[in-house]
C-alpha cells in the first residue's frame, strides 16, 4: 500500500463510521433495514480486511481470499438494498407492485444468470472471474434501478428523499464499478494475462510492479467513488427522517376493470384515425 492508498483507506473508514453513526442515530433501519445491513456489512468487511492485512501481511494468500469474499458480501448486500428500494417505492400501490415485482424479478434473474455465464467462460483465476462477475452485477444493478425509475415515472409516482438519494449513491458506485472493472478486466485479459498463467511464472517478477500499479490506481478510484457515495448517503441522513407517507386510498377493484378497457379502446381509436390520416 502506498501513502495515498493508506490515506484513502483511513478516510474511507472514517466516512463509513460516520455513515454508521448517522444510520444509527436516525434509526434508518425502520425505513430501509436492508440498506442499513449493507452499510454495516461494508464497515465490518473493511475492518476485517484491515485486521487481516495487519496480522498476515499484504502479500498473504489469506488476505487475497478475504478480499474477494468481502467483495462478494458487498455485491450481495448491495443487491438486497436495491431489491428493498424497489419494494419500498412501489409496495403501497398493490396492483402496480404485483405487476412490477414479477417483471423486476425476471429481469434480475436474467441479468444474474448472464453475469454468471459470462464470468464462467473467463480464463482461470479468481481475480478475472470475480472482476467479470462484479462488473456484470454492477451493470445489472444499474439496469434494475433504471427500470424501477422508469416504472415510477410512467405511473407518476415519487420516492421520498432518503430512498432517492440512496438510489443515487448506489448508482454512482455501480457506474464506477462497471466502468472500472471493465477497464481492469481488459488489462487482466490483455497485457497482464501472463500474470495468471503458471506457465509464465518466469515473467512474474518483471510484471509485479505493473500489476501493483494497476491495482493501486483502481483501488484509489474505487475508494474515492465510494466515499462520494457515502457522502451522498450522509447528506440524505443529515436531518431527522420523516415518517413514510401513509398508503393512498385505493379505488374499488371494479373501477379498473371497467375504465381501463374503455380508455384503451378510446386510445386505440385515436391511433386508428391518425393512421387513416396517413393513408393516401
Amino acid at each position: 500500500m502506498n501513502r495515498l492508498e493508506i490515506f484513502l483507506s483511513l478516510t474511507s473508514l472514517l466516512f463509513q463510521i460516520l455513515l454508521c453513526g448517522f444510520v444509527f442515530v436516525r434509526k434508518a433501519h425502520r425505513i430501509l433495514p436492508l440498506f442499513v445491513t449493507f452499510v454495516y456489512v461494508v464497515l465490518a468487511s473493511t475492518i476485517c480486511l484491515f485486521l487481516t492485512s495487519q496480522y498476515f501481511g499484504f502479500k498473504s494468500s489469506l488476505l487475497y481470499y478475504v478480499f474477494w469474499a468481502a467483495l462478494f458480501l458487498f455485491v450481495a448486500s448491495r443487491s438486497l438494498a436495491i431489491a428493498e428500494l424497489c419494494r419500498y417505492g412501489l409496495r403501497k400501490y398493490r396492483g402496480i407492485w404485483a405487476l412490477v415485482w414479477r417483471a423486476l424479478t425476471a429481469l434480475s434473474m436474467l441479468l444474474v444468470a448472464h453475469a454468471a455465464i459470462s464470468a464462467w467462460g473467463q480464463p482461470n483465476g479468481i481475480a478475472i472471474y470475480w472482476t467479470s462477475f462484479a462488473r456484470d452485477f454492477a451493470l445489472a444493478s444499474l439496469i434494475i434501478i433504471a427500470v424501477l425509475f422508469l416504472f415510477l415515472n410512467y405511473y407518476g409516482l415519487a420516492l421520498d428523499d432518503l430512498p432517492k438519494l440512496v438510489a443515487l449513491g448506489i448508482c454512482f458506485t455501480c457506474a464506477v464499478d462497471a466502468i472500472g472493472n471493465t477497464i481492469l478486466l481488459n488489462s487482466f485479459k490483455g497485457y497482464l494475462f501472463p500474470w495468471f498463467l503458471e506457465s509464465q511464472k518466469a515473467l512474474w517478477p518483471s510484471m509485479e510492479a505493473l500489476v501493483r500499479r494497476v491495482d493501486d490506481v483502481w483501488s484509489a478510484v474505487h475508494l474515492i467513488a465510494f466515499m462520494i457515495s457515502i457522502g451522498i448517503w450522509c447528506y440524505a441522513l443529515r436531518k431527522p427522517l420523516v415518517q413514510p407517507t401513509e398508503s393512498p386510498a385505493l379505488l374499488p377493484a371494479h373501477i379498473y376493470g371497467e375504465m381501463s378497457p374503455a380508455i384503451n379502446t378510446h386510445l386505440a381509436t385515436f391511433n386508428q384515425r391518425l393512421a387513416e390520416l396517413l393513408k393516401p
Binding site: 379498473y256 375504465m259 385515436f270
Partner: protein, 187 residues
C-alpha cells in the same frame, strides 16, 4: 477493446438516464412524496382543446378553403392557407395533449387499483408508443403540406366525443374518491 468501449458507454448512458429520471421525478413530485392522491384526478386537465372544436372545424373545412381560393386575391389566399396549416399543427399538439391526459388517467387509475391487468397495461403502453410514432408522421406531413386539412376534421369529431365521455368518467371517479359514487361509469 470494442466491448470495453461499448460497456463503458452503456454504463454512462444508464447513469445519464437515471439522473434524468431522478431530476424529472423531483420536478414532478414537488412536495408530494411516495403518494398519489385520488383527488388528483380532479386536477387532470381533461381535453381542454375540445372547447375549440367548432372554431377549428370551421377553419379546417373544405368549404372555407374553397371560398378563400375563389374570392380572395391569390397572395392573401395563400397566406391564409399557410396560417391555417400552422393552426392545424397547433391543434395537433392539442390532440397530443388530450391523448396524453387520457393515457395518464388510465395510469392513475391503474396506480390506485388493488389489482391490475398486465394485458391492459401492456396494451396502453403499446398504444402510447404507436400514437407518438403516428403523431410525428402526421405532424411531418402537415408541415410539408401534403396532408389535406379536411382530414383532420374527422379526428376532431372523434376527440370531441371521447373528451365528453372522459369528462363524465373523471367527474364520477372524483365523486367516488369523495364517497359519493353512485352511477355507472362506462357510457
Amino acid at each position: 477493446m470494442n466491448d470495453t468501449y461499448a460497456i463503458i458507454l452503456f454504463a454512462v448512458a444508464l447513469c445519464g438516464i437515471l439522473l434524468w429520471l431522478l431530476s424529472k421525478g423531483q420536478k414532478s413530485s414537488g412536495k408530494a412524496a411516495s403518494s398519489l392522491d385520488p383527488s388528483g384526478i380532479e386536477g387532470l386537465p381533461a381535453a381542454k382543446h375540445y372547447a375549440y372544436f367548432p372554431q377549428i372545424r370551421q377553419a379546417l373545412s373544405r368549404a372555407d378553403s374553397d371560398y378563400l381560393l375563389k374570392n380572395a386575391p391569390p397572395g392573401v389566399a395563400k397566406r391564409a392557407l399557410r396560417e391555417r396549416r400552422a393552426i392545424a399543427r397547433h391543434f395537433l399538439q392539442g390532440l397530443h395533449e388530450d391523448f396524453s391526459n387520457l393515457a395518464r388517467l388510465g395510469r392513475i387509475i391503474a396506480a390506485l387499483s388493488p389489482e391490475v391487468s398486465h394485458k391492459q397495461e401492456a396494451t396502453r403502453l403499446i398504444l402510447s408508443v404507436n400514437f407518438r410514432f403516428l403523431y410525428v408522421l402526421v405532424w411531418l406531413r402537415l408541415a410539408a403540406g401534403t396532408l389535406p386539412l379536411h382530414q383532420l376534421e374527422i379526428l376532431t369529431g372523434l376527440v370531441g366525443r371521447i373528451a365528453a365521455r372522459m369528462d363524465e368518467a373523471m367527474t364520477e371517479i372524483s365523486a367516488l374518491s369523495a364517497g359519493q359514487f353512485a352511477g355507472k361509469i362506462n357510457a
